[in-house]
Amino acid sequence: VGPYTITYFAVRGRCGALRIMLADQGQEWKEVVVDFPEWMKGTLKSTCVFGQLPKFQDGDLVLFQSNAILRHLGRKHDAYGKDGDEAALVDMMCDGVEDFRLKYVKMIYQEYDTGKDTYIKDLPNHLDKFEAVLAKNKTGFLVGNKSSFADYNLFDLLLNHLVLSSTCLDSFPSLKSFVEKMSARPKIKAFLDSEAYKKLPINGNGKQ
């Protein structure tokens, strides 16, 4: 296992979920923090398969694409459901989270000033889908009875939304309970309480 290295900017962004996952899974990892002017020079960017970060190294394996990294860690740390059918459901939930994250990211980077209020008003239409799944599953996880990478992904995105609108989960008891339980897991709590986490902005443009 490992050594793991994350190369990314000094933000939570698309590494939020995988950092929380690594912490909860009791892992150690190194982070190489890239500053934006350095990135714009292009020397690192030209070595990235899709010209993007995060870059993830697991020993000699080099990965890009945040969700591929989550799935890789899911396979390595038995956080991908208990069998093929559960794995398919975990993929489905993670894809659902990705759709939701894309909407969030679009609002943050392109429509914050004009579209923030509308986005918040519209949130229940996205949150209710995940509320329904959690309410039905009853285990406190999206799929089966243990954490999967989809849970870490959703948890990270919900934390972002609570910063955007602190009351957005008030009418979604399963989501609220999910966030509380995940936040209380000792290693996740330690990570969320750390200076390293707290001082990182969520998004690259400083909006949240």
């Binding site: 190369t7 950092r19 909860d24 982070e31 020397t43 390293a196």
Partner: protein, 255 residues
């Protein structure tokens, strides 16, 4: 002809890309492998535990302390079989009850990547670390000496520090940020600790050692060390009469 040229050019470009190094803003190490609390058992003072406190602080490891203040507490540790050689320091870490300062320091250094990248770097680190421990040991015994013996010892410490020990580290740091292998190791941590302890006794002792002075300034600006040097940290103050008295009572020592 054209395709061979293109191929070569392409291959050259690939290898140049792989060797390009960019400058990261900084690196951060995360470690959630630790499963439980780290607990130190010792007297409420520096002694042999202080180097361990320094190393844990630099490694970013939180710890709790149990202070021995009464002989009964020590006797209970003995009867519970907690102390392998009937001695403290005792450090509970990763489900183990560790004794012997050097063993503890070695474990922490290895676990938190403060022990060099290979065996040869490790032995260099050990050489530097052991020299510094010898030096710090001399300072450690001071509170337990009579006033005359203390004066003689202080003269010995000053002379040995300036003629035997500090020149070694001054030389090692000429043109190098760290003592071994261009990265932070437990030897560097011992060196900060030792030079600060020396300055407490001899405030101008580093005036003849510019590389050491610069090293100390650099190290003090590292976030973990800066935090450890702030009031309210786990760092212990210099030993006082209360400390000396407690050690004598708990261990039932005769002068």
């Amino acid at each position: 002809m054209l395709s061979i040229k293109t191929c070569t050019a392409f291959c050259t470009r690939i290898s140049v890309m792989e060797t390009i190094v960019f400058s990261p803003l900084h690196t951060v190490n995360y470690n959630f492998t630790m499963s439980g609390k780290v607990v130190l058992t010792y007297f409420n003072g520096r002694g042999k535990m202080e180097s361990i406190r320094w190393l844990l602080a630099v490694a970013g490891v939180e710890f709790e302390e149990v202070n021995l203040t009464k002989r009964e507490e020590y006797l209970k540790l003995l009867s519970d079989g907690e102390l392998m050689y009937e001695q403290v320091p005792l450090v509970e870490i990763d489900g183990m009850k560790l004794v012997q300062t050097k063993a503890i320091l070695s474990y922490i250094a290895a676990k938190y990547h403060l022990y060099g990248k290979d065996l040869k770097e490790r032995v260099m680190i050990d050489m530097y670390a052991e020299g510094l421990r010898d030096l710090m040991e001399m300072i450690m015994v001071l509170p337990f000496l009579s006033p005359d013996a203390k004066k003689t010892k202080l003269d010995e410490i000053k002379s040995k520090a300036t003629s035997r020990y500090l020149p070694v580290f001054e030389k090692a740091l000429a043109g190098s940020q760290y003592l071994v292998g261009n990265q932070l190791s437990c030897a560097d941590v011992h060196l900060v600790e030792a030079t600060l302890m020396l300055e407490e006794k001899f405030p101008t002792i580093l005036s003849e050692f510019p590389a050491l002075k610069a090293f100390q300034a650099r190290m003090k600006s590292l976030p973990a060390i800066d935090k450890f040097l702030q009031p309210g940290s786990k760092r212990k103050p210099q030993p006082d009469d209360v400390y000396t008295k407690t050690v004598f009572e708990v261990l039932n020592l005769k002068i």
